[in-house]
Symmetry: D2
Subunit: 354 residues, 4 copies
């Protein structure tokens, strides 16, 4: 299994299974001299942590990060930042029930086809728990970007059938559910509650915006900024789609409606609108970068489902245990983290030519 690294100059490599000794990562190419605010990193980890509120799983994952290298006297040294998160409560026995069965819409079948074995202890490498390493590395990337004035914020635009179709996005949102509009919090939560009551799950849409990005990031042709962001988003397990700017909506509009005209403002070229989502020709325009990621309902549900065993028998599975009826609230910080890692890498690549 290759494929556990992302980035060209700033490069994250992650490791670890949900029920092995530890998860973690190595962030290589991180600039020297950046103040490592461990409280900020802990807060970011807390945003992803299950059990944060009643809308996510109740297991008490501590997700405490240990830094193994790359920091001296509170600042990055320029050497690789390695970190790990011990798996303290590895309850492998919880999973023995599903050891020999392909769970529907999980990675069990494909891992088995690919590796000839499968780490059945809770999803192994395909577990959502793998994203904790991304959040830690993303928090580091944010600390670097913050020194450049760049900020990244994401929020929830839809949960199940409840959709916030407005266009405003004023951060801070004023609610700890990370809904872009606080007026939607209750409806979103009710939608999740209904799914839980039905032993089912729901998905949703997360919107992300990148503020104060200078013009010029991204390379034409294959390494466009939007291509990098798309890859980063689709690398998140439950993500099924990506769009930037007006995205799929633009397909039914006319150019005359969506072209971003320009005028002068304070003597400088200025975009009157930002339907392009802050990217033209693969390169940042200097306007706010906007994109959205679609998340499917998590496949772990306790309803009976038809499936087959690894030794070739049909069976019915009811997945026990406390599972999230909706992973979208916890995915918000993962979206931000992947965006931050992508943007920080593009920033450094851009600087090489400035």
């Amino acid at each position: 299994m290759a494929g556990n690294s992302i980035g060209t100059i700033l490069r994250l490599t992650t490791f670890g299974e949900s029920h092995g000794p530890a998860l973690g990562g190595v962030l290589d190419g991180f600039p020297a001299g950046i103040l490592i605010d461990e409280d900020f990193i802990s807060c970011e980890m807390e945003r992803r942590r299950p059990g944060r509120n009643r809308f996510s799983t109740q297991r008490n994952e501590q997700d405490r990060i240990s830094f193994l290298s790359g920091i001296m006297e509170g600042r990055s040294t320029g050497t690789p930042l390695a970190f790990m998160i011990a798996n303290e409560n590895q309850k492998s026995h919880d999973y023995s029930q599903i050891k020999d069965i392909y769970r529907p819409s999980h990675a069990d079948y494909t891992y088995s086809m690919k590796y000839g074995n499968v780490d059945w202890r809770g999803g192994g490498r395909s577990s959502g728990r793998e994203t904790s390493a991304r959040v830690a590395a993303g928090a580091l990337a944010k600390l670097f970007l913050k020194e450049k004035g760049i900020e990244i914020h994401a929020g929830i635009r839809a949960i199940g059938r409840i959709k916030d179709e407005s266009d405003d996005f004023s951060w801070p949102f004023g609610n700890d559910f990370d809904a872009v509009n606080s007026s939607f919090v209750k409806a979103f939560q009710d939608e999740i509650d209904r799914a839980r009551e039905d032993c089912d799950s729901v998905g949703g849409i997360i919107e992300c915006r990148i503020f104060n990005l200078p013009a010029g990031l991204g390379d034409p042709v294959f390494d466009r900024l939007e291509a990098g962001l798309a890859k980063a988003m689709l690398s998140i397990g439950a993500c099924k789609g990506f769009e930037y700017g007006l995205g799929f909506r633009s397909t039914s509009m006319r150019a005359s409606e969506i072209n971003d005209e320009m005028c002068l403002k304070d003597g400088k070229a200025h975009f009157i609108t930002n339907n392009s989502g802050g990217i033209l020709g693969g390169i940042s325009t200097g306007e706010c970068v906007t994109f959205r990621a679609a998340f499917k309902p998590t496949p772990s549900i306790s309803r009976p489902q038809r499936t087959v065993t690894k030794d070739g028998h049909e069976t019915i599975i009811e997945i026990k245990g406390r599972h999230d009826p909706c992973i979208v609230p916890r995915a918000v910080v993962v979206v931000e983290a992947m965006a931050a890692l992508t943007v920080a890498d593009f920033y450094l690549r851009w600087k090489a030519y400035e």
Copy 2:
């Protein structure tokens, strides 16, 4: 400008501006011994060519490919396949009108910010003409995949406000417009005609399916098959969004509705549905891989638009010349080409571990 290469083992590097001497590419890592069917490659080029019918620009680009290396006696030798397409009719004077102006929603502004110059001759590197090299390389990738039994076909699902929301996809489609359903051809064409009459343009949605892909392609975490496809699609200039399987629609559905249950068929594990789009955990399941790409209306329209000049004056631009009112029909083969290049690269990476 880096970023002109894509792929890990099978790697395409493209070059060329729309109005320089030539465009082309180098495809490195292509297996030896593959029959190079030049007629097939010409047919693929023809599908992308403007002037093919009244729905695209009337310039007569010949797009004749010259192979410079990598072929002997009709077969690939294993060395890099280099090819070029001469720009025979470089009418630079056509573009002098727009030399000093940022065209709205074009790359003029961002290239100027990034490179401090801009090749104003028709978009330079950001021109849609750059995709001709992708189509040539994609045709080569298809020839390799065909020997493995893998086929890739794309078709049009929407043009402007006309949407084909059915789910069937039986190739060949039976129409040379590449509409998935022939019954939509007239409505699609009418939608384009209306845009043309209004001196405007429309976008659309292309669906692509990959047939006979073995289970096991794609690597977990960052190099997931869907992440590779997303990057490949978003690297196409006008592409604004990507989704696979049920994509954005899955966000408003329940897991119980979309999970792919399994049964036995001929004694083997079998997916009863394929809502996952042929990918689970980042790895191909052996089912048909399905995805969709959103294309915005091309920004080149002859309506007057507000913009600014490079030397800092506000102005009105009316882009003259024959421009496509809809690039979607020509983008179908580009989508297939990028999919083929991505899949062929993943295929080789998979084979390294088989």
Copy 3:
């Protein structure tokens, strides 16, 4: 600081400073199902460990490896193999003496120029202790190669002015000093003893051979097998040179003396000699691959040396502490490890096309 990864498909990323919490690495792309013989890995670590005999430093580094991921029930799972080696006895105070001084021919000055800080605790990332992660990963690569029948062995050809200029190489060598010829062990050890008595240090030459490598590994032009090996060797801190086959000696010979003529043997093409060192045109011939790496005397000596302080004063430094008068014996396993990682990566790249 980027640059902490090596390999294309099989990729090692290392982390850690000599006096931080831990060193370690992540080996990504390692095939599934390989038996992880932890005893073998410990033996390899032991070969690199200082304090093994009187010819290396006496600090008692335990170098005990903890695997964090990628192994289940004694076999590789195909996920990244992460491992760490805790720095148990971090005696930072030992180094306070040299905190503010550039040690001659150490990396202190260049790290300071590059990162604006310097981890003065024993060399930080530039410490020879970093190679422990290479040895661990190299041992894993050897376990994979062993299953393919490929073996890699290195031995000492020269220490200081004592040179073994013979051409025989029969492994096992029959001495635990890793001298290719046991008859040289005493002379080598005496040369080291003389350097120690003089408060000085000596270098040497290590020869490495790769047995049973199939023909066909390596890619022409830039990714030649010898180019990969050269990069791998020169990435070892004290390595100053690399040659393969007859190397520098071939420059003063005639083609008629060194060309490898061919004959038939058992009906197959056979090389009568192997002056090419098992590589032609960048690709393995199927003969034994042979190369040599030159190691300079370690710069840490207790003799007084002229240098300057970081705040700009001239001074005399006498480096205290127990330092190796010769790191060559410990470098043997590092050479093997880097060769194993390189060859395993090339092996997988080769298999993608078989």
Copy 4:
């Protein structure tokens, strides 16, 4: 055959066989705005060209470069620089004699094993003619480096048994043979003449120095500057060895003899000697970078040699045609080119963090 690209940010991809339609390359990541001095590039090509004097082959390769992209009004635009060199006199018939025979110490056998075919027309991709694309790209890299004040010069230190063991290196050398010391020109030429008279060939050693490189280039651990240079040199077909600084000589010296002590000069830290060859800890020190590359005698000789045919018979080959008795004089500019490409890439990677 992958492996035809080199570099991380500044990346060269080459293509072409000696007797196909053309050779060439694509240089991606080249900064915008650099003046492209085509005369300089032609002069560099001329240095590599055979037939330049009686010491190289008499075929009249024109080696005229056509730029296909990336230049407008005499300056680089930031887009990929593609170029080609047409193979005007493809005398395939010259090679029919050797079509079915493995030439000793050529790549014929390994290519045949790897690709299942072999382009027998003069070595195909393994021909020394492939280096013409490197020289063209290297000339471009030099133009960029020149703007930063960095200069790269190489010269001949040994031909066959004639060795210039002095240490001086004052450029310009004052002879058009590229001998570091003009006093050796006649002896070098006589050595080549003797080989020619004997229907044999000789090798040699080239020394290269990089002037005015700032301190800080190169990344610790695997992407050390010397590792990049070693890979670049060993990627040249006939190169059998690489050493930097004192190289192999340092192995028989004491640290006290070769450590580079420091003093103050003009108030700044200054290296009293430069035995390290301008690199410490993998990072440039600011001193002159020095390295040497060993070239074997070219294997094409007209003496009878034992070999086998592809269909399995023993035979005697006498390679006809005009072959260089020594390729070292033509390799000087290739060494410089590969060094320039390597250094320019490291320069840009360094700038990303400045």
